[in-house]
Symmetry: C2
Subunit: 319 residues, 2 copies
Amino acid sequence: MINKLVDKIKKTEAPIVVGLDPTMKFVPEHIQKKAYAEYGETMKGAAEAIWQYNKAIVDSIYDLIPAVKPQIAMYEQFGIEGLIAFQKTVDYCKQKDLVVIGDVKRGDIGSTSEAYAVGHLGQVKVGGTMCRGFDEDFVTVNPYLGSDGVRPFIKVCQEEKKGIFVLVKTSNPSSGELQDRMVRTSEEDGGQGAGRPIYEIVGEQVAAWGAECMGESYSYIGAVVGATYPEQGRILRDIMPKAYILVPGYGAQGGKGADLVHFFDRDGLGAIVNSSRGIIAAYQQEQYAKYGAENFADASRAAVLAMKEDIAQALAGRA
Amino acid sequence: MINKLVDKIKKTEAPIVVGLDPTMKFVPEHIQKKAYAEYGETMKGAAEAIWQYNKAIVDSIYDLIPAVKPQIAMYEQFGIEGLIAFQKTVDYCKQKDLVVIGDVKRGDIGSTSEAYAVGHLGQVKVGGTMCRGFDEDFVTVNPYLGSDGVRPFIKVCQEEKKGIFVLVKTSNPSSGELQDRMVRTSEEDGGQGAGRPIYEIVGEQVAAWGAECMGESYSYIGAVVGATYPEQGRILRDIMPKAYILVPGYGAQGGKGADLVHFFDRDGLGAIVNSSRGIIAAYQQEQYAKYGAENFADASRAAVLAMKEDIAQALAGRA
C-alpha cells in the first residue's frame, strides 16, 4: 500500500492528503436541512448530512489527490450512526481508488492493539469465516504504551501489505509537554549528557520497526510530524530516512508551504501533507467566498489546486 | 459520577471493576453456535455472541460490583456491528445501575479530542437538538498529545459531572519504553540532576487537572496505573492524592492482591482494580472448571467473590 501511495503521489504530482473531518459547522446549511427533513435532528440525520457532504467533496477532488484521511472522532461523536457514515466514506473513497488513511490514533496493550489492528486493517475470525471491519489502507497509531502496543499493527501490516503512521511529533500547541521532554540517552552517562527529546527516541523506533516492513523505496511504517514544527521535521527526516511522513497542521493550524520543505526528500517524495478544513471548508474562507455555499465542492477543488501549487513552489524554491 | 463510584465501592465493599473484553475465544461455544445459527458467521453473528455473553455475565455479577469497564477495541474489531454490541452493553450496564468506564484510550489535538469527549461523555448538537452518543460514565484518555488533548475531556466532565482516567503508567511489559524515561526536571539544572520519569510528570498533570474538578472526596480526573508496577503505584499515590486510580493488570497480566496495597489510601478507598479475563473467562481456568462452559456466568460470580476476598485480605494484612 505504501507503493501505491507513492505511485499515486507521483502520478497526481500532489503530495497531499485531504482530511475528511466533517465538523457540523463546516457542512452547508442546505445539506443539513435536507438530511434533517428526511431523518430529523437525530444522529441519523447528522450522519446523513456528513456523508452527503463528504461524497460531494470526494466527487469534486478525487482525480487531483492520492489520498484522504478521515478523522474518526468527527464521526464517532455521532455515535453508531456517525461510524456508519465513516464506513461509507472509507468504502466510497476506496471505490474512487483513493488511498484511505484512517486517522484513529489507536494504541493499547498488546492483545488490545491486536483487536484494533485487525478491526481497522485486517481480518477477524468469526467461527470459521474471516471478516473485514473498517478496512482502511493505513491508520495512525499512538506510541505511548511502547512497542508491544505497536507491534500488533506491524504484524497486520506485514500480512496485509498495509501501513501505519506512528505519532512522533504532533502538530498541536501542547505537543511538546511530553514529546519534547529531554531524556537521558543512556544509563552510562548517568544523566550528565545534554539529553535528547522523546520525539527523537520515538523516531528511532519508527525507523527500526520500518526496516522490517520495506516497500519498494519507503517502509510501510511511517510517522506523523506536524507542519507546525519544521525544525523537528528536518531532524526526524534524517532519523527516519525510509519512513513516509504524514504532515498535519498545514493551513488552518498555521503551517505554510515554506515550512514543509524539510519534511521532503530531495526528489520531492517522503512526505504527504494533510489539510482538512482548509480544503473541505474552503467555501467559508474569504478567498473562495465567490463560490458560495451551494458550490462548496468547487471551492474545495480550487483550494486543492492552490495547495498543490503552494507546495510545488516551496519545493522548487528550496536551496 | 466519582461520588457515585465511591459510594458504590463502599456499599459493595468491592473496589473492583470487571473488564467486559469479550475476545471470541472466551465466548462459550454454545453461545457462538446459537448466534451463528441466527445471523451466520458474520460480524452481526459475532456481535450477537459477545452481547449475549456479556449480558449473562452482567446478570450474574451486577449486585457484587460497582463498575464495569468495556474495552471498546474488542467490539471495534467487529466493525459497526461490534460497536452496536458495545452500545448495548453500555446501556444495559447503566440500567443495572453499574458505573460504566469506557476503556477507549482516546486522545488527539484539541478540536478532535472535543469530538471524542462529546461523543463518549457528553452531548453533540444536531441542528437545534442535543443528542447523546455512547454516553459512558467515565472514559480512559491517552495523554501523549499534551494538555490541549486532555482539556476538552475535562470541560465535558465539568459540565456532565462525569470523569476520566488518564493513562499514567500502563500495565503492559513495554510501558517503560516511553513512560519510564528519565527527563530533565528543569531548564535551570541543565540536565545535571538525576531526572524524573515521564509517568511522574503526567501524574503531576493529573493532580493539577483534578484540582479543577473535585467531587466530595476524590476528583473526577483519575489515573491508570498498572498493578504490575506496585512501586510506581506507591509513588503515584502520593503525587496524586485526590485521584482515583484505575488499576489494570490484576490476574491474567500477573498482578496479585499483595501488589495492590500501595495503590489504596489507608481507608481502603482511592483505587479500583480491574480484572477482565480472570472474571469473564473464569470457567476456562482449572480452579473454576467444575462449572463447565454452560455455567460460565456462575464461574464469573465465584471469581468476583474470590477477587474481593483476595483484595480484602491484602488490605487487612498491610502494615
